[in-house]
Structure formats: structure tokens, C-alpha cells
Symmetry: D2
Subunit: 325 residues, 4 copies
């Protein structure tokens, strides 16, 4: 097999802190192996529209510490159609691109899998999403930063909750997964955590508010946006209705969770798997997501990586119950 | 006049970062002058209910850097009645308290003014509110921290806005005052700022979205919660209606703005005026709020400090227009 | 075996962020199982001197987010002698303590192992040290916070290095281990990393400075304090001597690396193993350090945990070389 | 007078956070008034060497929040000579530059004053230095960020000082001025502050260590690098010698003080005076530094701005003494 000479690189789906560190690692590792890199702006949409440009080591100078993605990201309706994917393929051929590194989440890899099979095109993926809801890696790029952003915000909310003896219902990201809510709930000393993986945990919350310690001056309830109880506003409504004596407030953390400087661990993760992505393409890998499992590189076929419903570690759930005493 | 021997200290109204630094300064300065300090929990409500306790230098160890208020704060309906105020007065007399230091905002000082006149009781006030909407001081305790919390959040939002080419409508605190929105808007490079002090600034926003530079990849619009356009959700609704092609999002920063470690300037301000409050009571001041105007201590009668509608510096407004080009 | 009724708890050795989260978890889990907790101040020294006091859930309110250790820590010469350990044992007996939770590092566990054997006393340990140099756990409490403190500092240094085109030699903690230098070097985009585990890496640095890219405007060199080249000042001296044209500066990060709010991961780790420590004593464990290996609790005899010279992951070393191109 | 059409812009001397916000404001305001901007890299050195390039609004996109200076900075020996300044002048003429905005400190303005007179060239200056040691402005760009960086570091040091009952001697920047040490000392709750403006304050420190409260568990001593006692190492040496029982440590904060994201106030200050600089050149100002005094723009001739020895506010000094009780 002839050595690969030119690769394309893009980010897709929701942005996540650390994507820039991954971009830098891909570009620098490619340089190390004398492979050219073509940056593709705005994910699959930009691929179709021909937003391609050459990248070199200077393109990625001083970005390892920046949130967001310098390649920008977008969702693409066109890419869901065979015509759209054909246009994308034509662009890759036109630019002499022989392999792709895709940074994104579930939707990104589903697209990559279909495209890769359709055109027999080598693609490897890097898990870039704050939700941490992919198989084949202990952590996704952006998760560690997002959970630190959350606890920083909840620490601030705790200050005001303590000063006013309030109950705060805090909503964090996680449409299908409670992994952000779970770890940040433990780390914030939350009194209860409501996540999609456990049903009717709102009953446990109500029970704790009724029978729990009365001498606590403030209470934090962490709610994943995808919880079956229906989000923080609905939980807040029910708490206010049942416990009118509590001074109950709702806070939706929202988009701040996606941004910010990546943490050390997110930068190291992104650097390692970004570098490994180039080596994987050189070594003939394709249709695989690269992750890190227990400190070692791992390679998972896209179809396995995309499965939802990561199982929640039982010990983590138990900790919440015990420590919120 | 006999020297004052024992003073009471409380925080009231919304909590603000730096209140603890002020509490520490009051207690330590009192110690320096051999004055006893009685802490009063939960503001006027705790004063009525007898939540008083002696404080010494150890009570305030290691709190200068903490958000919230160790004395807690609350609103008090009872204190609005003559009966409530009488109960409060009785508590002060019972504990031998000869003067009060009240840390809070507009409502706190209105209460202090009435109480002070009713019972001929010496009270001095310290401006503790993130809104910066008091006469008699350049800055209130908490304002500098709050605006840094806001720009930290908006910097994160900018990361994701840039990555997705989005318009973000960001709501910050300020029911009657646009001072938080104004400075944070300038510091965040916001494209437009909507504040209560200027009417129909939403028209200017719409005009800028229609006729402004088209090559900007993201746009931040900063809205004070008290703006006449009706809050960020309403502004977002109108922008989405008029500009359906923009990817427009709304973010309400909410309660995180009240918490967090106080900044250096908030700690220095709180330390200086906290210390000055004790000296003021010693020197026979009463019915005055202590602030800092152009780096010098200032003393303003409560009735003047409470006036609303601080005038917005015209240069600041102009800067927004010029720099958002 | 009769159920354990009362346990002692202390921190020892260098403080590490997250120790308070562990203390909180121990106290709350003990409460959950109806076990009394006696706090011991200043480690073994306080144990000998009788600095023991009862702790309850209120003792640990609002500490999960605080750096340092509320139990304080110290080194103890007395405890190295049989007489000292006898005094310590007498104190434990006097207070009815039936088991101990020791939070610390290598030295702490060595002491615990000897004491536990000498008096047949049940002790379990929690790894609390920023150095991450213990067997039996993927991470020690404090490491994740420390590496984020370092990259935050180096990001600042990079700002000024970029502005002035400077070479910065940055020294981080790690007397026997380069684990802090290694991950923070990768995450900071360092041009070279000097660690005790690899000898004469200063030669590689000199080589890179001589033959590397000339168009880089700034260079960061990360040095572990225990590197064989002799610390940042010595490395800086050699660089200045050999490359007088470079504007070379030295920065010793020092003690800031031990403090600060613990990160989310440090709080979760501390909470999990703090809780597990109480359950371990209930279940008859002794002479073991509790850690987390690949997201699951692990139990390692003290004598194994204490071995030094953790092997450096080869992939991490390679990444440094590739990415600093 | 014909309207000015093209201006040059540079940063010089030590970098300071907020310089980029000032650069952005100059470029955008120039655009607003249809004035071209030429960026000059590396200060006077780059001016001499012809490192000039056109800037537009895109050149300054997304830099308001970044530390350092995108224009880089350097010291220039050549510019101290008439020949060097002649070369610089020739470059300005060659590029059609009719006025200059210089961002820097004392040395920058001294150079600007000489150059401006020599060639009758319009120059206005913006105070960009963390030291805050210039007349004609309440604050210099970078000071507010630097003091927050310092207290963040000292808060971390306090964590470890408290845990170990240590005395920490912390050195901060300030060769001729104690303004950083003074405010950060107050804000960190330092036990003593040693600054160049007050002589033999080390005696007061020794006295306090000997006769002060013995029940304090930790002590922070803040030393400006230019203090007459000779820096933190020397102060530490003397403390260790006189008080061998204390566990005394020294920490030099160093270069981290120059970097980092600018605070809200630094960004607002930089934006206002950056914008005012362009208007000043349009209005015929020259040989003046633009600052803000009590929230209003101020214009100070270079020769006055450069005088050293800003007087220390007496109230600030007194606060240190009282609050360190």
C-alpha cells in the first residue's frame, strides 16, 4: 500500500473544548510524517461547499488552550442525501485528499460510517463532545472541561444559596445521558441528582426534601436536561408546589458549558488521540473511532462507538445517596 | 460623648461577593479599637428573632476570599411594621448594642433610615450589591466581581458562538440599572447592548443586524433584565422572527452572577469601607452610607444614597456604538 | 466480628486539593452507617499530642470545594520512634477509636503500616498527594487540580513569552516523579520536557534549540524539580550560556501548585474513596490503600502502594517529541 | 488642518493584559472614522526594521479577551540613538503614516516624547503596564488583571499555609512601586506588606512576628520586588534567622503576573482610551498620554506622565496595619 500523502480534517456537531488541541495534534503529527493537511470548515457542510484550505504548523500555533474550534462546525442536511455526499466526495478527490480525520460525536460518526462505505474512503474519528456518551473511550474530548465549568458555576450558586437558605434546581446538559449531572452533582455536594438513566428519581427527591435533615441551610438539586421529570423548570414547579415554604430557584446553566479553555486532561487526551489519528490512517485504519481506555489507545468501529445508553457506574449512584445525607 | 463599646453587624438584601471581606474588616477594626461586635444573622429578620452572637477575630478568619455572607441574609416583612422594628430594637438594647453597621443595598438603607430615626439609633451603611446602583460611591461591593463573572461566561459563549456562527442574546442582572450590561457588553465585544436607561434600543439592534457587517461570524447581544424590550427571551423571539436565517440562541446567566470569590478591587473596597464604618460610629456618624469616591472615603446620608437612576456615562454608550462596528 | 463503632481520621504529609472532599466523604459515610468520627489535627503529631475532637456532618459542611485540609497536616519526628507511636496508640485507645483513615502519601502509609502492625490496629489509607506517584490508583487526590493550576500558570507565561519571543524554563513539582511535568508539558505545548525518569534529556533540549524550527516565536521548557539536570535555574543557566541570543527566563511555580479549589475529578475521586474507606473498615479491611483503577475501587496493601518509580507511559513521551515539532 | 488619514500603532516595553483590547479599540475606531491603521511589530525596534503591515477590523477579531500583545513588544537600543530614530521616521514616512498611537509605560513615552519633538510628529500614548506607576490616569492597562492574578495565587498559597501553619514570604512585581503589593496585600489578608515607598518596614514585620497574635495559624508577608529590604529571599532569610521555630517559605510569583485574560475593568479601560486615542489624533492632540481619571478621559503631557513615585494613599497603608491585627 502506498503511503498516504494528504489528509482532510474537520470538526462537526456541537463544539467541545479541546477540539483545537486535537486539530493541532493532527496537523503537527502529519507534519512529522510529511503528510499534507487540508482543513475543512464547517464540517460536512463545508466539505460539500468546498471550504477547504491547506494547513501547516503555523495554522495551529497558540490554539491548544482555546475553546471552540478554529475549523468551525455546523450541521448539514445535504450530507444526509446521497447527492450531498457525492458533492463532498468530489471535493475530496479534487483536492487529492486520501483520508479523513473527523472530530465530533454520534452524528458525525454515523455520517462518516455511511460516507466511508459508500465511497470506500478511509476515515478515522475522534470523540469530541461534552456529553461523554460514546463507547470506545473512557472520556470524550470536552467532558472534563464541561464538568469543571459546571462545578465552578454551582460553587457560585452555592454561595448565594447558603446566604439565603435556598433550594436551587440546576439544569445541566445531557439530553440522553446523565454523566455530566452525575459527576458534577457529586462534586458539588448536591442533595439529589435527576438523570435520564434512572426513572422517577424525582420521587426520591421529594422524599428527601420531606424527610431529610432539616438543619441544612441550602440544597442543590442537579437535573440533566433529558431527565424524564422534564427539565429544571418542571422540577422547580413541582418542588414549589409541594414545599411552598422553601425559597426555591431554578438555574439553567446552558451554553456556557460548551466553551472555555480546555482542562489539562482534555488537552492531553486530544493531543494523544489527535496524534494517533494520523498514525492510524498511515497504518491503514479506517471506519474507527480512536479513544483512550485506561490510559491506552483504543480503536472502535464507528458502529459500536455510536451506541447510546452508556451504563452508569453503580458506585457513583450509591455515593450520591450516601453523601447527601 | 462616651466612647461606643459594642456594635451590631448584619448583611441584608441580595448577597454580594465581598460582603465577607467587609464583615472581616468591621470585626478586626472593632477589635483594634477595643469595641465588641455582635453578629446578627439573616438581616432585619434575625435581628427581630434574636439571632445574635458575639464575634471575634477568629470568627472572620479565612473568609476574605469567600463569596456569599457568613451572616446570611434575608428579606423581612416584619421589619416593615412598627411592631417588628420595636422587637428589633428590644433585641439591640438587650444585647447592649450601641450602634449598627448594615451591609446591603437600597432596601437595607431605607430600613436603616427609618429605624435610625424612630429609635434615635446610630447606624452606618456599607453598599453591598452587585448592581452598583447607589449614589455616594463609585462602586458597590460585589459589582466588580459580578462583571468579571459575566465576561467569563460570555467569553465561553463566544467560543461556541464563533464555532457555530451564532447570534447569542445574553441576559444579565439589572432590574433598574444597565451598569452590569454596559461594562460587560463593552468588555465582551458585544454587538449591541440593551439597557433600561435607553429606550427602544432594540430598534438600533434590529437596524444593526440588518445593515451591519455581514462578515462577522458571531454576534453577542447583551440585555439587562430590566430593559424595556422585555428580557432576553422576548428579544430573542423578535430577532428570530425578523431574521430567521440567523442561528439565534438565548442565555440567561442568572444566579451565578451573585457568587464566587471577590476580586481584588472588591476585597480592597470592602476592607476599606468596612474599617471606616467602625471609625465612623466611633466618630459619631450616623444615618450615612460609606463609600469610596475617586479613591477617597465618602459619607452620604441614606436618603441620598438610595436614589435610583444613576446616570450612564455618555462616553461608555458611545464606545459601544463605535467598537461594535 | 463486632461492628466498628468509632473511627479516627487525619491528613498527613504535604496537603493536596481534594483532601477536604475526602474528609467530608468519610464523615458523611460514617454517619450513614452510624459510626462516630474523631478528627485528628496535624497528622501523627496531633495524634501523639491528643489533638482529637468529635466530628459530625456539620463539621464538614461547605468544605468540598476548598483547598488545603481543615484537619491540618504536619510531619512528625516523634512518630518515627516506638515511644511516639506508643503515645499515639494511647490516645486512640483513650478515645475509643477502633480504626483509622489516613489521608496522605508515601510517608503517611509507611507510618501507617508500621503502626498498624505494631499495635494490630486497623488502618486504611487514601492517596492524597499532588505527585500521583503511588501504586494502586490511577490518580491520587490533588493531581488533577495541580496539573490544571500549572497549565493555567503556563498559559499566562505563554502570553508574555509570545509577546517578547522568549524562552521560558518553567519548574514544576515532582522530586521523584515527572508526572506533573509530563502531562502539563503536553497540555501547554511545551517544546521540551525534562523529567527524572529520563536521563540526560537536557541534551535533547539543546539539540532541539539548535536544530529545531527557527520561526517559533516562543518556547516553553518544562522541568520537574527532581530532574537530573538540576532544576530550572541550572537548565536556564546552561541555555543562556549556549544560546546567548535567546531571551531566556526562568520561572519556578512553587507552592501555588498545592492549593486551590479541587477540580471536579479530584472531588469525585476523593468522595468515592473517602466513602469506600469507611465501608472498608466496616468490612474488616486494614493495611490497605484505597484507590480507583479504571473507574473501579481497588485495594492495595500499603507496602505495594509505596513503591516509587511509576513507569511513564511510552505513548505520552512520544507525543511530546512529535507535537513539539 | 487636513484630516488625518493613516496612523501607526505599536506596543512597547513589558506586555500587559488588555493591550490587545486597546489595539482592537484603536483599529475599530479608526475604521469608524475612515482612518487607515498600520500595525508595527516589536515596538520601536520593529519600526526601525520596517515590520509594518496594514490592519483592518478582521485583524483584531476575537482578541479582546487575550493576554499579551498581538503586535509583540521589544526593547530597542537603536531607538536610543538619533540614527535609529531617523530610520524609524523614514519608515513612517515611507508608509504615509501621519500619527502614532504608542501603548506602553514610562520608557515608551520617554522615547515617544523625544521622537515627537525631533521630527515634529504627532504621537499619543496609552498607559499599558501592570505597575500602575504613571501620572495622568487612575489605573494603567493591566494593573487590575495583575492584582487579580496575584490574589488568585496567594489564595492558593494561603490554603497550603493554613494546612501547615506556615509563614509565606510572597514576592510580587514592582521595582519602583508598591502598588501591586499594597492592594494585593490588603485583599489577601496579608500580615505585613513591604514596599519601596516605606523604608524599613521590615522592622515592623519583625516586631509583628514577635509581638503579634500567637493564635494565627498562617501568615502571609507581601514583598514588592523593589523593596529596600532586598526581595523575598532576603526577607525570608532574615525571618528564618530570627524566628527559627516558624516554618517559613518563600514564593516568587514572577512572570505569571504579566499574562492571562484581562479583567472586565482592564478591557473597558483599554477600549475607552484606545478609542479616545484615535479621536485625540483627529483632534490634533500630540505628545500626550490618555488616561481615565475618576471615570472621565484625561490628557497628560508625556513629560508629566512619566514622573515616578506615585504617592501611596495613606488610608490604604493604615488599613494594612489595622486589618492584620
Amino acid at each position: 500500500m502506498a503511503q498516504i500523502k494528504k489528509i482532510g480534517l474537520f470538526t462537526s456537531g456541537g463544539d467541545a473544548p479541546g477540539m483545537n488541541a486535537a486539530i493541532r495534534a493532527v496537523v503537527r503529527t502529519a507534519k512529522y510524517y510529511n503528510i499534507e493537511v487540508v482543513g475543512i470548515r464547517r464540517g460536512y457542510e463545508g466539505m460539500i461547499n468546498g471550504e477547504l484550505f491547506p494547513m501547516d504548523v503555523k495554522s495551529v500555533a497558540n490554539i491548544i488552550q482555546r475553546g471552540g474550534t478554529i475549523l468551525k462546525t455546523a450541521r448539514s442536511e445535504q450530507f444526509r442525501t446521497p447527492e450531498g455526499r457525492r458533492l463532498a466526495y468530489d471535493q475530496l478527490v479534487k483536492h487529492g485528499i486520501e483520508g479523513l480525520v473527523a472530530i465530533g460525536g454520534d452524528g458525525t460518526f454515523t455520517g462518516a460510517r455511511i460516507f466511508g462505505q459508500e465511497f470506500d474512503f478511509p476515515i478515522v474519528g475522534l470523540p469530541g463532545t461534552i456529553d461523554n456518551d460514546l463507547y470506545g473511550t473512557d472520556f470524550t474530548i470536552g467532558y472534563d472541561t464541561a464538568i469543571n465549568t459546571v462545578i465552578d458555576a454551582v460553587d457560585k450558586i452555592r454561595d448565594t444559596a447558603e446566604s439565603h437558605d435556598r433550594v436551587f434546581i440546576v439544569e445541566v446538559m445531557g439530553r440522553d445521558s446523565g454523566l455530566i449531572a452525575l459527576r458534577t452533582g457529586i462534586a458539588s455536594g448536591a442533595e439529589a441528582i435527576l438523570i435520564p438513566e434512572t426513572k422517577r428519581d424525582i420521587d426520591a427527591l421529594m422524599d428527601k426534601l420531606e424527610h431529610g435533615r432539616k438543619d441544612k441551610s441550602s440544597k442543590i438539586v442537579m437535573v440533566a436536561e433529558g431527565d424524564d421529570a422534564g427539565g429544571a423548570f418542571e422540577v422547580g414547579r413541582q418542588v414549589k408546589e409541594k414545599f411552598p415554604n422553601y425559597d426555591t430557584r431554578v438555574s439553567i446553566l446552558g451554553h456556557i458549558q460548551r466553551g472555555g479553555k480546555p482542562t489539562c486532561m482534555d488537552r492531553v487526551l486530544a493531543s494523544r488521540i489527535g496524534s494517533a489519528a494520523v498514525e492510524a490512517l498511515r497504518d491503514g485504519h479506517r471506519n474507527e473511532m480512536i479513544g483512550i481506555i485506561h490510559n491506552e489507545l483504543s480503536y472502535t468501529p464507528f458502529e459500536h462507538a455510536c451506541k447510546h445508553h452508556i451504563e452508569i457506574n453503580a458506585n457513583l449512584l450509591k455515593i450520591v445517596e450516601i453523601l447527601s445525607i
